[in-house]
Amino acid sequence: MSLAADFSARRDGFALNFAIDVEAGETVAVVGQSGAGKTTALYCLAGLLRPDRGRICCDDHTWFDDSSRAYVPAHRRDVALVFARGALFGHMSAHANVEFGLRASGVAPSYAAARARVALDVVDGAHVAARPASMLSSGEVQRVALARAVALAPALLLLDEPLSALDIRLRPLVRDALRRAIAAAGAATVLVTHDPAEALLFARRFVVVEEGRVVQSGDIAALRDRPATPYVASFAGTNLYRGQARSLGDGSSDLQVDGVTLVVQGEHEGEISVVLDPDAVTLSATTQTTSARNVLHGPVESIVHDRGAFRVTLGSTPPIAARVTAHSLAALEIAQGTSLYATFKAMEARVL
């Protein structure tokens, strides 16, 4: 049981090139900013949108293949799609929603009802079973939507930003339901999200999409080690700078990034990319004379949890992320908008 897809598609003048492989029981996250083509990719996998070229195969079934003109429409694919806003049928009860897919596929009513109850239990939704879907809260809607997908026991489970429409307060609860739903379905799972934390929570492998194409895929170590673009770098929690290098003749080089000159180790000429680990960046409230040759200055833009510490991103030119401990965060009184200096040694920037 697995998904293998490689295709190009077009929707409303937007072109997408996409490739993904998912093993059964594995979750792969498709990440990218909104408008990158994530949902279009998901619609092609679901069978709601027909690609122009390529192949989509799931298990032994070919769902799309332009060379043999094979195309299986959505309702004949062993797939379930959870929409960002649930897309529940408002005129039916929660239970009828969960049952819907089984009834549509001709399963005996009593068996369908039993499986729907089991699926609702998975997401802790048994108490809302009899309620009309239009009367459910947003958190309940999303849990019922998850149960509706789980009830089908699909070979491929597609999740389109399943937590994004929810209030922050509701997310932990639905996140737990999502975790249980993914485990219960046991399917090849594709999670589309723009939230790095959500992606890291559920997936080990990532497909990063930018402007309609896959810029990189792999596990987090690979993305952190050799980020293909600044977006991948920020997703993976590291820094990537790309610019014109000029050798200084002393074993180091100038690197022009966004009109600012950085210094990196080694003799380089022409366009290069360097990766800078946030652990190697020091933050300070004032500018100091140190051995570090690179100093950037700007206000704090974001502070996020990162592997037991905090990653602080400055809105400097170019932007820079530093990983600091909770202690430093408190000592420097770091908050959103605090003006800080970030310094790093030339030898810490790793040339790709």
Binding site: A74, H75, V79, A80, F83, A87, F89
Partner: protein, 254 residues
């Protein structure tokens, strides 16, 4: 405001004219006496039979057509224009067109006549005329109702193993039911009032093709009381249908 008042006065005075009619016999029960007369009863029966069948045909054929029109496909606009054409076409022209197509010497009528089937000047002709003229009202309103259904719900149903037919039954039609009811009521009222296409294609045979509006026109020539009695029924039906449709429409907008 004066002009708005003029328009209101036009409607009001016309209605009062009908309601204020005092019959020659002048008994209080003249209305019910008129209903006992063969010509009135026959027209009532013909109208009820024909419009009932027309409404069923419109519902059964118009609903799938509206489902089709509510989806996006190349040529949709053209098809919608084609379907709506009878709304603006003068009914007499529609009747003439039917006559030329299905009449004794018509395009299809000739072949049908050889097969022993005669349509013109029968109850079937009445039904065809009513359906042609009234169906677009239902189809257009039903299409609008279906288009208000969130397309994401249709997509969701497709990813839940539902064929389009199953999706239509369980997802698209149920929330649209009040709107469909209102649309069908309006189409039925239109069929009940159909005159021009019917008299052209189906003629004026009492007890066979003479519907209520045709009876009003024919009887109005020499027996005004019968014409007024039928008209009052039609007025009552129109009022009830309009009020009912409005109530259902307000339920839709809620």
């Amino acid at each position: 405001m004066v002009f708005a008042g003029l328009l209101l006065a036009l409607v009001a005075v016309a209605l009062v004219g009908l309601l204020a009619h005092r019959p020659a016999s002048a008994t209080p029960w003249w209305f019910f006496a008129e209903l006992q007369r063969a010509v009135v009863r026959q027209a009532l029966v013909v109208s009820l039979e024909s419009t009932l069948v027309s409404a069923i045909v419109i519902l059964v054929c118009g609903t799938p057509l509206a489902l089709l029109l509510s989806r996006r496909f190349p040529g949709r606009e053209l098809l919608e224009t084609f379907v709506s054409l009878p709304v603006v076409l003068p009914p007499v022209v529609a009747g003439l067109a039917l006559l030329l197509a299905f009449g004794r010497n018509g395009l299809l009528g000739h072949a049908l006549a050889i097969a022993g089937i005669h349509i013109s000047f029968t109850l079937i002709a009445v039904i065809m005329a009513q359906t042609l003229v009234a169906a677009p009202l239902y189809v257009i309103a039903a299409t609008n109702a279906f288009q208000r259904i969130d397309p994401e719900l249709v997509d969701a149903a497709a990813t839940l193993r539902a064929s389009f037919t199953y999706t239509a039954w369980r997802v698209i039609i149920p929330p649209a039911l009040p709107a469909l009811g209102a649309a069908l009521a309006l189409a039925w009222a239109r069929a009940l009032g159909e005159f021009g296409a019917t008299i052209t294609f189906a003629g004026n045979l009492p007890g066979v093709t003479q519907t209520m509006p045709i009876a009003v026109y024919i009887e109005g020539q020499d027996d005004l009381d019968a014409a007024v009695a039928i008209s009052l029924i039609l007025l009552l039906v129109s009022f009830v249908v309009l009020a009912g449709a409005r109530m259902m429409q307000s339920r839709v907008t809620e």
